[in-house]
């Protein structure tokens, strides 16, 4: 009994160091550090978003994290409304290839247009909210 419980304690103590950080957690870690990272497949060289253990294109498990350029184009846009308030929900095509859902902010939600060039930043959509990848239109200065 004693031996068993000792070894059990040791296993538990070792666990955190051995914990495998999956792509989901890794992506969130990058976000909390203020950076937006994508994966790129070592095999077929395509970029992958959202983060996965295997490449959805070729099936390879060899994916490498790379910083995203942040440059994207609006693919579609919408304005959800409730109780007098409204905001933007868009799909953007990242320069690297993948598409993602986001909000385009710093512009009236109705003024977001398909084809609009946008750039990523890490922000939140509510006070003390989790960090998210948001986009804003590229101004004259940025481009």
């Amino acid at each position: 009994m004693t031996n068993q419980s000792q070894s059990h304690d040791q296993e538990q103590a070792k666990q955190p160091a051995q914990m495998d950080v999956g792509p989901e957690k890794k992506f969130r870690q990058y976000l909390s550090e203020g950076s937006f990272h994508l994966q790129r497949c070592d095999q077929c060289r395509q970029h992958v978003f959202y983060p996965r253990l295997l490449c959805p294109h070729c099936g390879s498990m060899q994916l490498t994290w790379v910083p995203a350029s942040g440059r994207a184009t609006v693919y579609s846009t919408s304005v959800p409304r409730s109780g007098g308030s409204s905001y933007n929900i868009a799909l953007v095509d990242l320069e690297e290839g993948p598409r993602m859902m986001t909000r385009v902010v710093d512009v009236a939600p109705e003024d977001v247009t398909i084809g609009m060039p946008v750039t990523a930043f890490i922000g939140t959509i509510e006070p003390n909210g989790e960090p998210l990848v948001l986009f804003r239109p590229i101004s004259g200065d940025d481009s």
Binding site: S76, T77, V79, P80, R81, L91, I114
Partner: protein, 386 residues
């Protein structure tokens, strides 16, 4: 043309509850009433039910609960959830199981008390987990996905809100011919255009209603069906397809997986869109009807707006679509797909009353699930189509 499932099975019975507000009823009670009604219609006792297909948002043990409730011990159980397309996809599972000799009498059933639950508890039934990397932006599910598809179609093809309004108005005109339909007051393009926006570019009138209802169908072998009281409605083709779960992963927002599910169903049936007499498309939102008309070959891609104009899919138009009034005006109980099958069967039995399409021999149903995520297409025919 010679696929072994073509014409191997037939719908022998259909059952429905009342539609709308059934505040004293549970979802399971609505399901059970519809099953009883479908078995009565088929002239089959429940002791013969050896395959049970159902699906339900809040209930993860739906098939077990329904089997126990009915007092049956099926050999084949299936409560897959791929969204509202599921019941059309279960025709594929049921027909294959009957053909393989695994079962003889398959019941596909659903029941919902979505509307009452919303009124009484403020809860809207839906999947518990939606889509990773989307939910955190708080899209207005589920209409947000459809709004994004509509916006893209408008951008690429010049489709307008008026085109979408035509679809809502056509559904209402059919509903006016269906005594069971919930929304039967006249509706004009101007009224749809003036409705409050819920998720631009969709307004409240572009969205389906929310209702309590139960529905069931009984599927048996074609041989068995010929000995039963109702005219058999034969399953000629069925196909299932998916392209994504979350809308951000849909390859092209203007092209749904019904291109593929439709092709599979047409190939099995040996038929094309030209031969279809009456069409049932899962219209949770007006844009669905437009996308599926294009993807199933009733008009070229991008021309859906023109196709639905001038009442072309309304009573008296060129193609009868959603003759029951659809999810927009007849009924939408959480997941609507089974209602598509029931309308096809009523039309092919020539029992659809005022809304009957004279001489209908071939009917097509297209179920949609999730956020345009899954598509299931079925083609039915009368005995003349065999």
């Amino acid at each position: 043309m010679n696929h072994s499932l073509r014409g191997s099975c037939a719908v022998a019975g259909i059952g429905l509850t009342d539609f709308g507000d059934l505040p004293g009823r549970s979802a399971l009670e609505n399901t059970a009433e519809a099953v009883h009604s479908a078995l009565t219609d088929a002239g089959i006792h429940k002791s013969e039910v050896d395959a049970l297909f159902t699906s339900n948002f809040p209930d993860t043990f739906a098939a077990l609960h329904l089997a126990e409730y009915l007092g049956v011990q099926p050999h084949v159980l299936d409560d897959t959830n791929i969204g509202g397309a599921v019941y059309v996809s279960q025709l594929q599972h049921a027909a294959a199981a009957i053909q393989a000799g695994l079962c003889n009498v398959a019941v596909i059933a659903m029941g919902s008390n979505t509307r009452s639950k919303l009124k009484q508890q403020g809860i809207i039934d839906g999947p518990r987990e939606l889509f990773p990397y989307e939910d955190e932006y708080r899209p207005k599910a589920p209409m947000n996905a459809y709004a994004l598809a509509a916006a893209r179609h408008m951008h690429q093809y010049g489709t307008t809100r008026e085109h979408l309004a035509e679809i809502a108005v056509a559904a209402r005109a059919w509903a006016q011919l269906n005594p069971r339909a919930i929304r039967r007051t006249p509706l004009s393009i101007a009224e749809v255009m003036a409705a409050p926006m819920v998720c631009d570019p969709l307004s409240a009138m572009d969205c389906c209603l929310i209702a309590d209802a139960g529905a069931a169908v009984v599927l048996v072998s074609a041989d068995r069906a010929r000995d039963l009281p109702q005219s058999p409605v034969y399953l000629l083709g069925v196909g299932v397809a998916t392209t994504h779960a979350g809308i951000s992963q849909m390859p092209d927002l203007t092209v749904t997986a019904s291109v593929e599910s439709g092709k599979r169903a047409y190939d099995m049936a040996g038929l094309s869109a030209r031969e279809v007499d009456v069409v049932s498309l899962y219209d949770a939102f007006t844009i669905n009807t437009l996308l599926f008309l294009e993807d199933l070959g009733f008009c070229p891609k991008g021309e859906g707006g023109n196709f639905v104009s001038d009442g072309n899919i309304a009573p008296g138009g060129g193609l009868p679509v959603n003759t029951n009034g659809g999810g927009l005006s007849c009924v939408h109980p959480g997941m609507y797909g089974l209602m598509l099958i029931i309308e096809a069967v009523e039309q092919l039995r020539h029992a659809a009353g005022e809304r009957q399409i004279p001489g209908a021999e071939i009917a097509l149903c297209n179920g949609n699930g999730g956020h345009l995520s899954s598509q299931a297409t079925a083609i039915f025919g009368t005995s003349s189509s065999l």
